[in-house]
């Protein structure tokens, strides 16, 4: 059973006693307080960017040495030794992905993420992400399906970042779906508030999310179950980054889900008619 044990954020301003100072002074104090908080937030973001960059370097050494052994460059290994080395590499690569996620978040928070617009077939990116996630799905006994209209026109977006969004949603969907379940990616044409768009749906038949927690899942560092015994691990940044990347494209992201009823995450990419 999942539960929310994240503390409700409170504002020190909201808790401050009623002041008798003139309004102008109170406003000045509040603005100074905001400026200080913004400066601290910027420091935190810079720290995250620095630490994640610095963590990559020793990880590079660990992974490369392990791959040298695995690939037999220093001589042949027994099957048991190979298994053990593969464990080091997989652990290192997983850690590296999490470090990369923190770096991407930090860049997003500092508005340093830029979109490189190109035209590409959405179906190609979905197929690529499907291939990348195939072994994870098959290990869990989860069926992976894709449904993209064959006549869909190319989209104009940042291919790498769209791949990142789909990869993140797919990874979550597989992670939260148990043996015998289904995960799918479906693309449809839609009409958004600003015109035609592509709607990308990543759905699953997994454990689902209580509607009360739908906004929480997009919040930075938040996990629906943040207890030490939680079954699903990660930085708690994946969906925050996904939302940032979708918004940079001028799109929207949301979910439909209920406990025990699976989840369907949707995001849009503006897709003007030609």
């Amino acid at each position: 059973m999942i539960s929310v044990d994240q503390e409700t954020p409170t504002s020190s301003l909201a808790q401050a006693p009623v002041s008798t100072l003139p309004l102008e002074t109170q406003l000045k104090q509040a603005l100074e307080h905001i400026a200080e908080l913004e400066a601290r937030d910027a420091l935190k973001t810079q720290f995250l960017a620095n630490i994640s960059h610095d963590l990559r370097t020793p990880l590079t050494a660990v992974i490369t040495h392990a791959e040298i052994l695995r690939d037999g460059i220093l001589g042949p290994l027994s099957d048991r030794q190979l298994d053990s080395i593969s464990g080091i590499i997989n652990g290192g690569r997983q850690l590296l992905a999490q470090v990369g996620e923190i770096l991407k978040y930090a860049r997003g928070a500092a508005n340093q993420l830029t979109i490189t617009w190109t035209e590409f077939q959405l179906g190609d990116v979905i197929a690529q992400q499907g291939t990348l996630n195939e072994s994870l799905a098959s290990k869990k006994g989860v069926t992976l399906e894709t449904d993209v209209p064959a006549d869909l026109e190319p989209v104009s977006a940042d291919r790498e970042k769209v791949g990142h969004i789909i990869g993140n949603l797919l990874g979550n969907a597989i992670d939260f779906t148990s043996n015998g379940g289904r995960v799918w990616v479906r693309v449809t044409r839609g009409q958004g508030p600003d015109g035609p768009e592509c709607v990308i749906e990543v759905g699953d038949t997994g454990i689902g999310i209580d509607p009360a927690h739908h906004e929480l899942v997009f919040r930075e560092f938040a996990q629906v179950d943040s207890s030490a015994s939680r079954q699903h691990h990660g930085t708690g940044l994946g969906l925050t980054i996904a939302r940032k990347l979708v918004e940079l494209h001028g799109g929207r992201i949301w979910l439909e889900s209920a406990l025990g009823a699976g989840s369907r995450f949707y995001f849009t990419i503006p897709h003007p008619a030609r």
């Binding site: 960059h53 990559r56 370097t57 020793p58 990880l59 590079t60 050494a61 992974i63 490369t64 040495h65 791959e67 040298i68 690939d71 460059i73 220093l74 590296l96 340093q112 830029t114 490189t116």
Partner: protein
């Protein structure tokens, strides 16, 4: 060292990564030098022509672009230069390619892939 083997210079200021690259290339038929300071990198390249320069952008006393500028000025450019970096922002990638890098690879590149690609780069003139 066997002078007939291709010379790989690893320009990297982290000794752990240097060690890993030294083993990877040293055990697979290359002569390997490593250095983390701009002046040291340039000295090595001047005294022993470099076939493949694996260049980190953040060095102890400057950046990889300083190295490329100096090697070009001294007319001892490596046969092939590849940026091996922790940064893959589009503007950095574009700057590396404009500075003459054959490729820009995000660390860590899988060991076997790096060896295979090095083989292709060194096979072309």
């Amino acid at each position: 060292m066997n002078a007939a083997l291709p010379h790989v210079l690893v320009a990297e200021d982290n000794p752990l990564v240097c060690d890993a690259m030294r083993v990877l290339f040293g055990e697979t038929g290359h002569r390997v030098s490593t250095a983390g300071h701009v002046a040291e990198i340039v000295d090595i390249a001047e005294s022993d022509p470099v076939d493949l320069l694996l260049l980190d952008l953040g060095l102890a006393d400057g950046d990889g672009f300083d190295v490329l500028d100096q090697l070009r000025a001294l007319k001892v450019p490596p046969r092939v230069t590849v940026a091996l970096t922790g940064r893959d922002e589009p503007d950095i990638v574009a700057r590396c390619l404009a500075a003459g890098c054959e490729a820009v690879l995000l660390k860590p590149v899988p060991a076997r892939e790096l060896l295979d690609r090095a083989g292709s780069w060194l096979a072309t003139d």
